[in-house]
């Protein structure tokens, strides 16, 4: 009754073992209940877990790739979650935390090609019509201005004009405070002096 579905792409091979949910009328070729999964990345330790782990893994990798295609290299996930990905100089650091106590997190580094292999392997899983699971995955949406760092850029763009205006305002105030009367008196006295000299 158990069914195993395999997804291969590049260095990634994912095996999903499950059962059809007969209460929902699934056929024997479909999987409605995931019992376990195994991910084999060539050159790295084998990973396995339950449906929740796979869902978190899938969501984190696809979100990271979505950001990466827009040129955004940010950390996806948090240290407390089962998986989080941090971009390093030339690679991508995957921190995988085991749900078993006392097991140290596994850290693996993938290069761009390996990351894309894994993404495409997960794309296959996501698109498979035989997996009838309601994955809690974010839709591919345009990123927000803040995600792209555009708000910071806009602030930087405003900084110098605002500074210029402020300097102009300050200098105007200073000039306005210079007493005019004294200078007028000086002019009058010099004029008087010159008149006296002439006389």
């Amino acid at each position: 009754m158990k069914k195993i579905l395999r997804y291969d792409f590049g260095i990634a091979r994912l095996e999903v073992q499950g059962l059809p949910d007969t209460s929902l009328g699934h056929s024997i070729n479909e999987i409605g209940i995931i019992l376990s999964w195994r991910l084999n990345l060539i050159g790295f330790p084998e990973l396995e877990g339950k449906k929740e782990h796979l869902e978190t893994f899938l969501r984190t990798v696809l979100e990271y790739s979505r950001n990466y295609i827009s040129g955004v290299r940010t950390v996806v996930g948090s240290p407390s979650s089962l998986i989080y990905i941090t971009p390093t100089k030339n690679r991508h650091q995957f921190s995988l935390r085991s749900s078993k106590e006392g097991v140290k997190p596994l850290i693996i580094y993938l290069d761009d090609a390996e990351l894309i292999d894994l993404t495409k392997c997960f794309d296959q899983l996501k698109a498979d019509q035989n997996i009838l699971i309601d994955w809690d995955l974010p839709l591919d949406q345009p990123l927000k201005r803040s995600d792209l760092g555009l708000n910071k850029k806009a602030l930087k763009g405003f900084f110098f004009p605002v500074l210029g205006c402020f300097t102009l305002f300050l200098s105007s105030i200073m000039l306005l405070n210079i007493p005019i009367e004294d200078s007028e008196q000086k002019v009058i006295t010099t004029q008087e002096k010159s008149l006296k000299q002439k006389q």
Partner: protein
């Protein structure tokens, strides 16, 4: 109140169409595909037939005319393309990226010997620069920037975009990224 309602309607409208900058990126990605293989332009014609996209791109000339909506081109034209044509172009690009994925992967893999990888990148860069000079208006500052800036980073970003845009899953990713706010 009326003005506020109008503003809200405008801001909540779905961004179905892409900006000029996004179309420029799409055309650059097609140029990148042409730089991967000397026969890529011929492969694009076969792909159009295979994907049944003849309604949108009936022949090479029409396809070239469509790409002229890229304002960076030597002979560009103003206007906008329909949503269906844009979808067809994204489908074609994702298919081509998938078709050339082994070549793209070779460029991105760190496992390749350094000298072989450098050689492959040199071939790609030379061809891409030739295509830019041949087809784009190099008097425009943005095109000059492409030729003068840190090319390895710029080309790598384009190739990564192609890799992530390949296949069906990649198509959705690419479409969403083309609708990002303009940088």
């Amino acid at each position: 109140m009326k003005r506020l309602t109008i503003n809200l309607i405008i801001s909540f409208q779905p961004r179905e169409f892409i900006s000029k900058r996004a179309f420029q990126r799409l055309d650059l990605l097609l140029l990148a595909i042409e730089s991967l293989d000397t026969n890529a332009s011929q492969s694009i014609v076969f792909a159009i037939d295979k994907l049944n996209l003849q309604n949108y791109f009936p022949n090479k000339v029409e396809f070239w005319k469509l790409r002229c909506y890229n304002t960076m081109r030597k002979t560009s034209k103003n206007g906008s393309i329909t949503q269906e044509t844009l979808e067809a172009l994204i489908t074609l690009l994702s298919f081509m990226a998938d078709f050339f994925y082994p070549k793209i992967r070779d460029l991105l893999s760190s496992k390749e010997p350094e000298n072989i990888k450098n050689e492959k990148w040199d071939v790609f860069n030379t061809r891409f620069n030739e295509l830019i000079i041949e087809r784009l208006n190099i008097k425009r500052s943005i095109v000059k920037k492409y030729l003068l800036q840190d090319q390895s980073k710029f080309y790598r970003e384009l190739v990564i975009t192609l890799a992530l845009a390949s296949g069906e899953g990649g198509k959705a990713r690419l479409k969403a990224s083309l609708q990002d706010p303009i940088r």
